[in-house]
Symmetry: D3
Subunit: 176 residues, 6 copies
């Protein structure tokens, strides 16, 4: 198939961590495209309560979790450093990933920026938005509540292997 014929989709998030909400979006949009690009936003951030995991750790979470989905299409997982200028962000994304034609997002700014650049932008369905939410999951990690059930099994494993909960608690100044 020629490059120009390939229908490629773009989905971006910070994935702090990658959770079941993301998982469900991908499970569905994968059927609408030939190939999917997953952009890891704010790739340069880590070791904060808002962004505890490095881009590399997030790559690991996503790649392993995707195997649970049994996808037989090419998926590109690409860290994207922030460019700190909204007017340049679409061009920045386009330079870092293979060409794409459709964008999946529920983020109003992402939506607007790609629309101004004449992309085909689609809202994604929300899956259990109250529970499948980074902020809430990180809070549970910090407070010692159960968090594993909100992320794919592979993600929970990665977080344990890198001792991610200790990192979050130490950064918060909590006794571990």
């Amino acid at each position: 198939m020629r490059e120009s014929k390939i229908k490629r989709g773009f989905f971006v998030g910070r994935f702090q961590p990658y959770h079941l909400g993301h998982h469900e979006v991908i499970r569905h949009v994968i059927h609408e495209v030939d190939e999917l690009i997953i952009g890891i936003g704010s790739a340069q951030d880590s070791h904060t309560l808002e962004n505890p995991f490095t881009a590399g750790e997030r790559v690991l979470m996503i790649v392993r979790a995707l195997e649970e989905l049994g996808i037989d299409k090419r998926v590109y997982v690409i860290p994207l450093e922030d460019i700190y200028r909204n007017s340049l962000w679409v061009s920045h994304v386009c330079s870092m990933v293979p060409p794409f034609h459709v964008v999946y997002t529920n983020n109003p700014l992402v939506y607007r920026l790609f629309k101004e650049a004449n992309f085909d932008v689609k809202h994604t369905r929300m899956y259990n938005r109250n529970e499948y939410q980074g902020t809430e999951i990180r809070k549970k990690m910090l407070e010692g509540d159960e968090w594993e059930k909100y992320v794919p099994k592979a993600v929970a494993e990665v977080i344990k292997e890198i001792d991610g909960i200790t990192r979050i608690r130490e950064i918060a100044g909590k006794d571990v």
Copy 2:
């Protein structure tokens, strides 16, 4: 297999373009590791004679070329923006890609930086170094000489699909 047991290798280049020299290195080192990370250096550069292709275009070249190798191990293809400080570069790489244990390189600076950081660094074999060389291949592209035979078939296709030769010639101020 637990994360800490996985032997992951790291191989970095600018891949302007990805050529048969890179291809041969990967064909060999893939047998020494469980998983391989391919870092695309100077990811932010494009549209110059030295760095004609965007990171996204290079991702495309590499991912498609790898399929020719029939590899059955996980390979991560990760764009790496320059950090412009040698003393920070190893930490930068480590933050952007999954954890790795061995580095394959023939670049003296890369070799030294990883060695100072106590990594296991190995020289790669050279495959037909005179011909399989980015500088030479870009020169052929510019001059209108035959260049396709120095790159994997998939890479030649990508370059044609993005009309890469025209870009190089126009940037050089040549009539197209």
Copy 3:
């Protein structure tokens, strides 16, 4: 008139958007100088609720609005990207605009920085400060309230031509 004899004034704002408060300041200070420089601060910011308009859009607003004032002196309208270091900001401004001798501002930080650099700094009069205020006007734009009467006619036209209200509402995640 020799350069060194020209009395040039400097007035800086973010102009998100340029409103009647700015307009009144300029109407008055223009009489105290031979030429006026209008610096557009945080030029790199756009597409946020705090900074919805690009520097180019703000240039357009200001240049057209100034024509309403019928000024017969040279006015320079210069976008100024942030330098993110207060101790360098005065030098940054001075490198980007023609030489000037007097600064008009009510911003305490701008006042202090120029004073430490031995400039002649003057407070501007406040014109209807409650209504002529960027924050309030952007809020009206967002909420669908009347905002046109707080900006020069030319500015309202520019905002309509670039469909600025839709941008603000979409970024805020509001139905349009």
Copy 4:
């Protein structure tokens, strides 16, 4: 006239200094557009042999020289800091200046970048290219040769007022 009906042109240079070659280009292209934007490239550079003058000094040169042309159309003179990434440069320019539809340039990279972004790009005529050339003029300034005849009268005045020749010679380590 509505914004969308205005035919605006964009012409970019480093203008180190603004010389008669630039002057002739503007004298001609001004007839093809309703308004003209003059972008001052590498605005952040100064005090080198390649880029001796600050952006503010170049603004001054250009604005005063333009008056010699007796133009009765709006001309925007806008400093443009480098963004150091070719793939972002067109977006960067577009965010900093009013919307434009046609680009005038003889620079191959500028030509290519705007063409990839689907702009209407036109080559400018060359006026006495051997003599009207920044490199040559700066060399004459440095060597103490006659340089005034290659720039508009207003530009020569500005350079004398800011004592620009002394700066160039001192930076080069020459006795003054």
Copy 5:
């Protein structure tokens, strides 16, 4: 004594201003090391209520205050600009200061980052934490309350000599 035998400690703060809490920490840890490095964090910040003093002013405060302690060991006082990426910060520090083996800190993030990099990290004792605290002291400076007793005598002198209180009050928009 050979370099590798020297036990060097690292202590970092923003020192806005250097106060008696810092003073007490240094008075104690100096006995545990051969040499001490004092890193001045966020060196690039100044002229804000949170960071009123420049790095150079803070160098002055610290160097003069240290003389009150009568230390007979080498102390290095080094400004450290922010690197804005937690994953690079330890490498950044290590490149800017002489090699060190032990870190003294009560900051949870600093603690965690150095621990992940396998440094020997020690908590410092807290001295009168309620009073000896930058935030509180800056508040007193702003409000016109007595602040001198919370800082070493030498620091109070430096702040008066640079007229630091006026700066803080002007930045806050207070009448002076």
Copy 6:
């Protein structure tokens, strides 16, 4: 002595490495000032043939070498990261170091920039310029020639302790 009465001098270099030429300059200028600031330029650079040593390593060289001079005045050794804009460099230096009144330099750009900022700038004497020169000394280090006699004894020790010669040779791709 009050701050404003202290005559402080500023001397800047890259000190790659600190050599006997620098040493002689300091030996002489120290008599003309009450306190001396030594700025380490391009502090962020290391691990190149032009800039092999980190700022921290250079701090070590300088501080130890100064002890050979038996100076009884305060000397501040301050790393200065590049700001990449000549028009901001003087302000940058001034924000990072204590206030100073006189600058010692033979670098034409440094000379010019401080002169434009109305500093008292003095040329330093040249001591055996042919031999005491960073470029020449680094070349000897690379080629395996004798280099120790061109640097203070303390500097030679530091370079050996950090195994600096091996670094230079490895970066150059030489067998070690």
